[in-house]
Symmetry: C2
Subunit: 147 residues, 2 copies
Amino acid sequence: MPLSLDALERRVAGSGHRITAPRRTLLGSMQQLGDHFTAEELAAAAPSVGRATVFRTLRLLQEIGTVCQVILDDGTLEYRLASGGHHHHVVCSACGAVDDFANADIEALLGALASLTGFTIEAHRLELYGRCARCTAPLAATETTAS
Amino acid sequence: MPLSLDALERRVAGSGHRITAPRRTLLGSMQQLGDHFTAEELAAAAPSVGRATVFRTLRLLQEIGTVCQVILDDGTLEYRLASGGHHHHVVCSACGAVDDFANADIEALLGALASLTGFTIEAHRLELYGRCARCTAPLAATETTAS
DNA sequence: ACCTGATTGACACGATGTCTCAGTTACGCT
DNA sequence: AGCGTAACTGAGACATCGTGTCAATCAGGT
């Protein structure tokens, strides 16, 4: 749990938005849901909050950089409390774990791609899919463990 | 127009699927729609084909690698006749142009990221957003691009 | 305590895609 | 050429995910 509820609330307040009971509830639920969650899971975890508010709050938190989207392998969306700053995701296709990473090499590569394509790159998405260390190991040893 | 209708049909047939009138219609419409199109545009361009079939065919063509998805900046999906093979997209946020590119450096970088994250990378998505050469030029004249 | 705009919940709506199912069709086989 | 069968199709109901509307409520500066 890298971010306290307090810190999250301060981020909301600091961005010029109000701290309300539903928002507090949602922030708390997000922490309890852990690493990553769908909008639906969040709505289910906070039944006292209206669906529209769940989506509105998710959008707000994305705008202020407190939450980020993860696009899964199959194209579905999950959300995740962001540690902050620009980063990318690695998603384990076996256990669903999501990790962040930021890599200067990628940003450098984008510069090269800019001249290659003639585009001025303004933004990008990069998502990696694979198996995390924990899920790779048992697979190599005995193929029975998984799924 | 790199791929003839014939070539497209042969790809479908070659993958063990039938050539039917709706599929032929859709392939033709895709070519006429040009570079990239939404499912809805395709459905509108081929009104004789049922909506379900449009989506089914898009899925089929994705599976056999004839069509690929482009995730736009705002998260919406477009489709595109794939030149084939693994590649990435650059999307112009001004005119909507979509370009492909494949880059060995990226694949190399993924190897480095694998050891960095401990993941075994199996797949990835990379989409770039920016302005194509044509859209960058007039902008540079009037206003200096930043960020 | 008061004011006022931000926020909310309920629900209708919209966009995008899938499922079902009875009817049709491609195409390998004879 | 004719047949049989599994693949395919269209129509429309349904599922999922998210947004718009609007009257009621609330946070937080004064």
